[in-house]
């Protein structure tokens, strides 16, 4: 079903080790020799039990975690970009224009109204404020966030409400690569359906997505392929159809 095109993202032999200096230099090898490719319009879902390093992979792709070994490449029409050696100052424009991220938790300035939290990725690109606001409101409405909450800071919202603000903020920028860290974890069925539809639309736009989904149902509906991260922390990709029973 997936049209095989040139991959947009390729990961080769990725390693991640944490060294905890506070615990006598304890070394935690959380990932070893992970490889994958991801094409435009494809949604690759990371599978494996909790704590196996799914979020760690997303964070390395987003620059929040350093890469201990291996190669991360983005393939642009005009050449490839090595993420593992990207200087810190380059990450900011890369995140603004290329790599979007929906984290599990919303982390924003305490006082900012929800609608402005959602608008921010567009404003960062210099978009017109009224157009950004209109787009943000459309997304919040679609995600069934009550209108009375739009002008309030999300700090006091319920987990599900915060998550929907977070999803809107993550999708509004239509980044070519989107990292999804359990975006549907605290949503009810109706809102899960909305997020699934948004993911399908993003695929149709050609967005490459790498995601973690706690929910089997969502995972089956959005995944083109599954990438199991086994207990030995090394993983190979396989087609989703061939192993639908893969459990988290």
């Amino acid at each position: 079903m997936t049209v095989m095109t040139q991959p947009f993202l390729s990961v080769e032999s990725l390693d991640k080790t944490f060294v905890l200096h506070g615990q006598d230099g304890l070394r935690l090898e959380v990932m070893r020799d992970l490889s994958l490719t991801l094409s435009p319009g494809e949604c690759l879902v990371l599978a494996g039990r909790s704590g196996i390093g799914k979020s760690t992979l997303l964070k390395m792709l987003h620059g929040s975690y350093r890469v201990s070994g291996g190669r991360l490449r983005l393939h642009f029409d005009d050449g490839e970009l090595a993420l593992e050696s990207l200087p810190a100052h380059a990450w900011h424009p890369l995140r603004r224009d290329v790599i979007g991220y929906v984290s599990q938790f919303l982390r924003v300035v305490p006082r900012v109204p929800a609608v402005e939290v959602v608008m921010e990725p567009l404003l960062a690109r210099g978009a017109d404020a009224s157009e950004a606001r209109a787009k943000a409101e459309t997304l919040l409405e679609r995600l069934n966030l009550p209108e009375r909450l739009w002008s309030l800071p999300p700090g006091t919202f319920s987990g599900g409400e915060q998550q929907r603000v977070n999803i809107a903020r993550g999708f509004i920028g239509e980044h070519p690569l989107l990292l999804l860290d359990e975006p549907t974890a605290s949503l009810d069925a109706a809102n899960r359906d909305v997020v699934v539809a948004m993911i399908q639309e993003a695929k149709a736009r050609g967005t490459a997505m790498l995601g973690i989904f706690h929910d089997d149902d969502v995972r089956e509906r959005v995944a083109d392929r599954l990438l199991p991260l086994d207990r030995h922390m090394s993983a190979r990709t396989r087609a989703a159809e061939s192993d639908p029973q893969e459990t988290p």
Partner: protein, 262 residues
Amino acid sequence: MKCPQLDRPTLLEARDLTRLYGPGKGCEGIDFALRSGEVLGIVGESGSGKSTLLRTLCGMEAPDAGRVVYHAHEGELDLYAIGEARRRALLRMEWGLVHQNPRDGLRLGVSAGANIGERLMALGERHYGQLRAAGQDWMGRVELDPGRIDDAPQHFSGGMQQRLQIARTLVTRPRLVFMDEPTGGLDVSVQARLLDMLRTLVRELGLSVVLVTHDLAVARLLADRLMVMRRGRVVEAGLTDQILDDPQHAYTQLLVSSVLTP
């Protein structure tokens, strides 16, 4: 798609910069480049040398060794080789400095409007009506009541004073702004409001900022990149969330793990 432009022009550089008052007191061997439009946070505990570094960067204190290089429109300027007149003109026209204590950056006895207008007047603005309009506009931008334009800031709260200081600094649209613990000494609720305002202004004006703070939460919300200082040296530098979420150096790990979270 094509790779977007990731390399922004360098605005300010420290090259092997050293300013020591005694062994381990001050800053030593500092190298970095601040890119245009970037917020660089300098974090560390008291006595780590971050304030000394800031003073050396912004022209207030000559280094013992090394250079501060500013990339002006007309070319590279070695901050301590260009002479006091040019240096002070730079601070007045292209740079801004936000002090931790607004009292150090404001004239408490003169009106809010005159405080905001001073830098414009120093640049030669001689129209009272336009100065006043700029004052009112900026009071609105920093969420101060423009109706209080003729009130002296000595009667303002600490948070209001800090917002006025920011307006006074940014009114001339500086390319580069130095901020020394801009939210220090403020109540928590006031801090949040100020942080949001600073983020918005940085984005809208395309400011490049060097921010000194001991508060990692402030650093996370404002800074794109961080430098962690200890005993006068930079122990670790990188993307803000990488430093805070995956610190490499033993000291950074200790610092991050010592933060209280409510």
